[in-house]
Subunit: 302 residues, 2 copies
Amino acid sequence: MKFALTILGVNAATPAFGRFPTSQILQVHNQYFLLDCGEGTQMRMGDFNVPKHKIREIFISHLHGDHVFGLPGLLFSYDLNGRQEPLRIYSPKGLKEMILAQLRPGVELSFPLHFYEVETTFPRIIFENDVVTVEAIPLKHRIPTMGYIFRERPKLLNIRPEKIQEYQLSVPQIKAAKKGEDILLENDVFVENHVLTFPPLPPRSYAYLTDTIYNETILPFICRVSMLYHDTTFCEEHKDNAALTMHSTARQAAELARKAEVGQLITGHYSSRYKDLEVFLEEARPIFPNTVLGLEGITYEP
Amino acid sequence: MKFALTILGVNAATPAFGRFPTSQILQVHNQYFLLDCGEGTQMRMGDFNVPKHKIREIFISHLHGDHVFGLPGLLFSYDLNGRQEPLRIYSPKGLKEMILAQLRPGVELSFPLHFYEVETTFPRIIFENDVVTVEAIPLKHRIPTMGYIFRERPKLLNIRPEKIQEYQLSVPQIKAAKKGEDILLENDVFVENHVLTFPPLPPRSYAYLTDTIYNETILPFICRVSMLYHDTTFCEEHKDNAALTMHSTARQAAELARKAEVGQLITGHYSSRYKDLEVFLEEARPIFPNTVLGLEGITYEP
């Protein structure tokens, strides 16, 4: 079962050096979630063979253009291709008006389009289905901005195959054991659950935090997530720019990753002043060794 | 003195096979004009080294998304880069409202942005400066749509260098001769202009006609233009689709080019159903031999 992040656009504000503005695809099992939608997102989906018609939910961090200007084109293409499945877009307030101003009055899309306004002053779970839950947490940026945390739902316990034979377990008994129940056999023998099962792989999780300043108040929410993508618009050399524009440095992101004990840190949202990105790794890795460079077209798994 | 068209995006409605939606740059001498601005135009400018800060005027054919969705991102990048020069956008009615809905309220751009609403019911000259005039002519599409014709201003006559010496021409006399005047020398000898000068190269011209059905009523406007870019969304095989969606076939564009006796026909605005584009050439060239395939990143000169 896949849990994989593919970066489509990794640049900040304006495109540069072939890098596009922000967007990402998170695949959880057979479901695809789009995170932000900068200009050119639909072209990047084509470049990297993303099955764009499988996307049902889009999560928008904030309404700066480099995170949303790809939406009208994507919706327009869905419509031209005769999409029928509903599409749900989660974002801070104001997106609906921006998007509807792009669609011609009186022209109906081929599919139902729903906008959900995400409350930006406190954290809450905004979406859940059979494979994943999504929490939205407020970040600190120049305008209301949300981070999104995807948590794979806990899986059932695994049954030990040899025990099915040994205890002559029935199908209902197997199902009960997988849910963690102890089993009373027909001969009145009581079998504790741990004898019959072993634990599943731990659920995987992904925190998407951009754009934001360094902010320790979010540590409880991202504690031990498997993967963290964090705003690293600048390096320490341009720390003042980071403060001024309310972004983070690679060093700050690494500090946060270390304190949150995450599995892996992925850098990104690079300023167009950087052509060579190795400097981000050189800065982050001494603080948090399991840092990887966020790059377009690369797929990351925990 | 350059007169050169660079295609940035050549696909219809939706991107496909690495082809972007419509945009083009026309360079006339040292001036750059942007024609339409589909999603990803600013990335294409980067890919093909277009000096984007030299663009002062943008001409929009119509308000379908594949011709305008790149505008917000381009304006946003200009602003981030601290552009100061005014930018003028010419288009049918309604663009201003679409664009302003994308810019955050209360946030002023770093440069003056002017929208000019082009009258879509009759042809007229909408722009002129020292190097070029631009005529807007109504096309026939599903919504109000304009074609734009760029005509290089006629150049002055060339003076024959050996005649300056022979007749001891003064600077005012040379200037007058270049404008076509006859010259009365100090010794009262009268010299007809054609003795002193020879004609300049004929002015070059470019007609940008997309999106449109086949329409002979525009023939007088495009008669003998040096280059014609014409909607060739489909081949004859899909003639019915062309009629239905109010586009043209390669054969129709070639017929029009032949009747207008243009210098060169450039095909474009290809439907995403075509991966291989050679079919457009195969269809057009038997009717109008000087047809070339419109391709992104290629520069065309008369």
